[in-house]
């Protein structure tokens, strides 16, 4: 089994602690925020449109007079969900494909990895754009698109760990003792291949949030009136010259959440798997 002892070092890493703090903050907002949000995020008030930040509306209001703070709070829930679901969509198939390719090698390996190369041949956001174009713009399709795009990354990372692990004595010993492929793969190889996956998935949460917001911003992701941060930014873009706060706050929220995942990912990497430093 891999040693989880280094995780204790995480608490000493300032960047990881700060990252955890930021994520915990956004998570708290996502969980409890909607209950304490000052206003209904969908309630329009034409008379108060594009109001600058004030005591009644700390983040101001948007072009329909909706309270931006309340919308940012509700958006936290959407962004956290996007991160979790997108990463799961890339993580599980990617890990399975990497395990199979690395462990069985040969033709299966070639077929899987060439298919992965095909997906990697596209610039990430273009592939995501293309997939959402085919599936149609919506929040669930955004998660699928962002998830699919990153499957090859996990497959590659897992495969390279498995290639090293399957030559190790303890794996060969279990094989000689009559351990079946499934048992070896999932009980012995997978747990040892986990550290880089965890690091990559943490950093991947940030990437997924960014990509989904980018799709929302381009009009290809979540659709108005959903309080998704990317969509809100895109709405704010039109009023940049007269009401910059409309774009500023949702963008700041994206930045804080992504920064949190990057800080935590960096800290985890230093602690769990220093060889990944080049990522």
């Amino acid at each position: 089994m891999p040693s989880w002892e280094p995780l204790a070092g995480l608490w000493r890493s300032r960047s990881a602690a700060l990252g955890l703090g930021l994520i915990a903050f956004v998570l708290g907002v996502a969980l409890f925020g909607p209950a304490v949000a000052p206003h209904d995020p969908f309630r329009t008030a034409p008379l108060e449109r594009l109001a600058a930040p004030s005591a009644a509306h700390p983040f101001g209001t948007d072009s329909l007079g909706r309270d931006i703070l309340s919308r940012v709070i509700h958006g936290a829930r959407i962004s956290i969900l996007i991160g979790l679901i997108s990463v799961s969509i890339s993580l599980f198939p990617g890990t399975l494909l990497g395990l199979l390719a690395g462990y069985f090698g040969g033709r299966l390996d070639s077929v899987i990895m060439r298919a992965m190369d095909m997906l990697l041949a596209f610039p990430a956001i273009l592939l995501a754009i293309f997939i959402t174009a085919i599936l149609g713009p919506s929040l669930p399709n955004t998660m699928i698109a962002v998830g699919v795009v990153y499957i090859p990354h996990y497959a590659r990372i897992v495969r390279s760990s498995v290639l090293a692990l399957k030559e190790q004595l303890f794996v060969q010993a279990i094989a000689h003792l009559g351990g079946g492929h499934g048992r070896i793969l999932f009980r012995h190889v997978l747990p040892n291949a986990l550290p880089p996956i965890i690091v990559y998935a943490t950093l991947g949460m940030g990437t997924a949030v960014l990509q989904a917001a980018a799709l929302g911003f381009l009009g290809l992701g979540a659709q108005p009136p959903q309080p998704e941060w990317g969509v809100m930014l895109s709405e704010g873009r039109q009023y940049l010259q007269i009401a910059p706060h409309v774009a500023a706050f949702p963008g700041g929220a994206i930045f804080i959440l992504v920064l949190g995942f990057n800080l935590l990912g960096d800290g985890l990497r230093d602690v769990l798997d220093p060889t990944l430093r080049a990522l």
Binding site: A121, P123, L240, G252
Partner: protein, 336 residues
């Protein structure tokens, strides 16, 4: 460089491009709806639709259709735009230069500043500069490009209007398009003022696009340099009494370049992705904006053409990076 390595890499490039065309072809077939109807509009007669379908080979078996499609591709035919019937290849060629100009400017900014910041950080680790630079780099990689672009635009074009808001050059000042690169065209035309104007227009989009790669390059340069600076040959170079700047630039940086080149290559792909967002924000008339506009208009022929071109550019960049890698590190040539 032995031909064997180059030959293998070129063959690989061919396979990747073939695969890309297959993926794009299959994905477009998955789009619900009849391509002929998309082309002719909803009021087309049944006869017209049938004629166009036959013309496009839509009744033929899928593999035959792919063969025909591939044949057209090899002749540089990317099909016709569903919006205006113009050849997609020409539409793309017209916009490619704008994207190239933006991407090259961004890459130059990112590479020079990134490597410089990384080297200084590594030479004085944990100094005030290092801490500040690495903090900024972390902020840079976490920054949503589209937000950064909008905020820069607000600060430098609205609040303190020192730079133009959007576009490539002022109306009516466009030089004759020789290369399509605005900076080069204005220079060739000998119009100094237009050149400066084009340069001013380039600043905000290029800085926006450069931010993420700059941050990544600074981080990787620092960690790569830190590793190299501990090597024996660096100590030897210092012991020989070489000037510290020679040790750092000639002995250390050169050896630290390998991972930096890899990251540079990876980032060119990232740059293409970033261009889609940056061009949309700054109304930059390049390929990135064209692809988004085409998507909004459901012009799949144009989208498909752009994606193929982007993937081809990325594949060629990857090839060049691998070759540069082999040139920098003889071990790769021998073992590959």
């Amino acid at each position: 460089m032995p031909f064997g390595y180059l030959g293998r890499r070129l063959l690989h490039l061919g396979f990747v491009l073939l695969g890309v065309s297959l993926v794009v072809f299959l994905m477009l077939r998955m789009i619900p709806g009849d391509p002929a109807r998309l082309l002719l509009g909803e009021f087309a007669s049944a006869e017209d639709l049938a004629r166009l379908r036959a013309q496009m080979g839509l009744e033929r078996p899928l593999p035959v259709q792919y063969g025909l499609y591939l044949g057209r591709l090899l002749q540089g035919d990317l099909g016709q735009s569903l919006r205006n019937g113009a050849p997609v290849a020409a539409e793309i060629a017209q916009r490619l230069a704008a994207t190239v100009e933006l991407a090259v400017a961004a890459m130059l900014i990112a590479t020079f500043l990134g490597i410089a910041a990384g080297v200084v950080s590594a030479v004085r680790p944990y100094s005030l500069f290092d801490t500040a630079a690495m903090l900024l780099a972390l902020v840079g990689v976490s920054m949503p490009v589209f937000w950064l672009g909008l905020m820069l635009m607000y600060l430098f074009a609205v609040r303190v209007p020192v730079l133009p808001l959007m576009g490539r050059i002022g109306m009516g000042n466009e030089p004759e398009a020789l290369t399509g690169l605005m900076l080069l065209d204005t220079l060739l035309a000998g119009e100094g003022e237009a050149f400066l104007e084009a340069l001013e227009h380039l600043v905000l989009p290029a800085v926006t696009l450069a931010t993420v790669p700059l941050a990544i390059i600074a981080r990787i340069t620092r960690s790569s340099m830190l590793e190299v600076l501990q090597q024996d040959y660096v100590r030897t170079a210092r012991a020989k009494g070489l000037d510290e700047s020679v040790v750092i630039l000639r002995h250390a940086l050169r050896n630290a370049l390998l991972p930096i080149v890899t990251v540079l290559g990876l980032n060119l792909g990232l740059l293409l992705s970033g261009a889609v967002l940056t061009e949309t924000i700054f109304s930059w008339p390049g390929l990135g904006r064209y692809v988004v506009d085409s998507l909004m208009a459901r012009d799949y022929a144009a989208v498909q053409g752009c994606i193929l071109v982007f993937a081809a550019i990325l594949a060629v960049i990857n090839l060049v990076v691998d070759l540069a890698y082999a040139a920098l590190d003889p071990r790769i040539r021998i073992h590959a």
